[in-house]
């Protein structure tokens, strides 16, 4: 039986990505470790994403609160606003929106950077300079993305909650201590831990897909553009798929 061409291409791509991921794990735990480049990537991927993540997080918290208020007022449960906003941010909106912004910023930049390095022979030049380019370029970037996204999500959540506090205070007068007490009252470890754990997977997915697309970029500027573009599209899609799996797993573990 002959499979349709598009399905064959999809399976081929999935197989190549799986092999690339396998190579990542083989190379990541074998010396020589590229600590210097890893730290540099953490700075670029983590620190330099902070302003964007901070601003979007703040707006997200503020807007969510303002949108939720009328419905809660209708049902007479306006007092539950801080609890609802914080639960929504911590469990779902914070991790997913931050991961999507991260995919747009970091996934595309990794895809474009490695893609242009590939087509201008910089990856080959590294190899002849006594460097394993996979370790130097891929392992460091994927590890940095995996570790930095959870940190960014935690910061974004905190800023979002502050945005929510300001949102509450637009039409009401709530003190910070009362607001934050209501937030911590509703939040439980079973809300925070699974939400943070899934962000490691989001970060890994964005890093590995960006690197895979860039590292296997086709020749020419069109190839580099396509790498950056498909890195963003694919990693955004995978973020949602991981989110879907994560909710099933937390449900099975009784953490919902």
């Amino acid at each position: 039986m002959q499979l349709p061409k598009s399905l064959q291409a999809f399976l081929q791509e999935a197989g190549n990505l799986a092999a690339f991921t396998g190579r990542f794990f083989r190379e990541a735990f074998r010396p020589r470790y590229e600590w210097r480049e890893f730290i540099r990537q953490c700075f670029i991927i983590g620190y330099k994403s902070l302003p964007l993540i901070g601003v979007t997080g703040f707006i997200m918290g503020l807007v969510l609160t303002m949108q939720l208020r009328p419905s809660l007022v209708d049902y007479g449960v306006e007092a539950q606003l801080p609890a609802m906003v914080s639960l929504a941010i911590i469990r779902e909106i914070g991790p997913v929106i931050t991961a999507l912004i991260f995919a747009g910023k970091i996934g595309s930049s990794i895809g474009a950077e490695l893609g242009s390095m590939k087509v201008t022979e910089q990856i080959d030049a590294m190899e002849v300079s006594g460097t394993n380019p996979f370790k130097y370029l891929v392992v460091t970037r994927v590890a940095a993305a995996t570790l930095m996204l959870p940190v960014l999500v935690i910061l974004s959540d905190a800023i979002s909650i502050y945005g929510g506090y300001l949102g509450v205070n637009i039409k009401a007068n709530t003190s910070w201590s009362l607001f934050i007490m209501q937030v911590f009252d509703i939040l439980d470890f079973s809300d925070v831990i699974p939400a943070v754990v899934k962000t490691f997977f989001f970060g890994f997915a964005v890093g590995i897909i960006g690197c895979y697309k860039g590292y296997n970029s086709k020749k020419g500027t069109e190839g580099v553009g396509a790498s950056a573009n498909t890195a963003v599209v694919l990693s955004s899609l995978v973020v949602f798929i991981i989110d879907l799996l994560a909710v099933q797993v937390t449900d099975l573990l009784g953490l919902n």
């Binding site: 201008t120 022979e121 910089q122 080959d124 590294m126 002849v128 300079s129 006594g130």
Partner: protein, 257 residues
């Protein structure tokens, strides 16, 4: 005559002089046979040009020499070492002795000129005190006449300057052999001539042996001690520029018209 090699040997070099010996090299990508029994010898201090049409496998050949591609069969011996049998560590050591100038220069975009030159030294664990590392970088840049660019980014440099910096980066490890992949491609005729002269200057100053891949006949004329013509995956002719210009093989003659 097709398929037979035409050779002009004016002097007989001794086998001890051979720094690079390629025998019966075969490589194919799927059904596309690129090298089909290619032979080449490079002698100490010699500058040999491999001439061939675009897509004839010239770049593939030098990528096989440096270990970026693995041939299907044949042998590549560099300074007595079988390059196809060495382990990874040994290959890295050999790569310190073989410089490679990439066609696209391959300067690292995210690094300054200084960092670009430092990179191979750092990666090959050449532990130089800060001052002598700096001195080596400045010396390499002086050799190509671009010491003022040390803190510039590659994006700020012209095509010719990039080529010179790439050559400086190749020279920083003081290699015994330098492989040049189309060193004048994409450059204007004046800059091409300058780069060709620079290659011969470097050759004399550092007493390196070199393989130059090119089809720019003006560059070939300037740099070549000997020329090997690659056609249909095989070496079809070898000799000096003047000898090959008089070749009776039509495909060889076409390069000199």
């Amino acid at each position: 005559m097709k398929g037979q090699e035409q050779s002009y040997q004016s002097t007989q070099p001794t086998p001890q002089d051979v720094v690079l010996d390629i025998r019966d090299l075969h490589i194919a990508f799927g059904s596309n046979v690129v090298l089909d029994g290619f032979d080449l010898q490079l002698h100490k201090g010699e500058s040999k040009v491999v001439l061939g049409r675009s897509g004839s496998g010239k770049s593939v050949l030098i990528k096989c020499i440096i270990g970026l591609l693995k041939p299907d069969s044949g042998s590549i011996t560099v300074m007595g070492k079988d390059m196809l049998a060495v382990d990874h560590e040994e290959l890295d050591k050999m790569r310190m002795r073989i410089g490679f100038l990439f066609q696209s220069n391959a300067l690292y975009d995210s690094m300054t000129v200084r960092e670009n030159l430092e990179f191979p030294m750092r990666r090959h664990h050449i532990d130089l005190a800060d001052q002598s590392a700096e001195q080596r970088i400045i010396e390499a840049l002086e050799n190509v006449g671009l010491e003022h660019t040390i803190d510039m980014m590659p994006v700020e440099l012209s095509g010719g300057m990039k080529k010179r910096i790439a050559l400086a980066r190749t020279l920083i490890l003081k290699p015994d052999i330098i492989l040049y992949d189309e060193p004048t491609s994409g450059l204007d005729p004046v800059t091409s001539r300058e780069i060709a002269h620079l290659i011969t200057e470097v050759q004399k100053k550092y007493k390196t042996s070199s393989i130059v891949i090119s089809h720019d006949m003006s560059c070939v004329h300037t740099v070549a001690d000997k020329i090997a013509v690659l056609l249909d995956g095989k070496k079809r002719a070898e000799g000096t520029y003047d000898e090959l210009a008089k070749s009776d093989i039509k495909e060889v003659q076409e390069f000199f018209e």
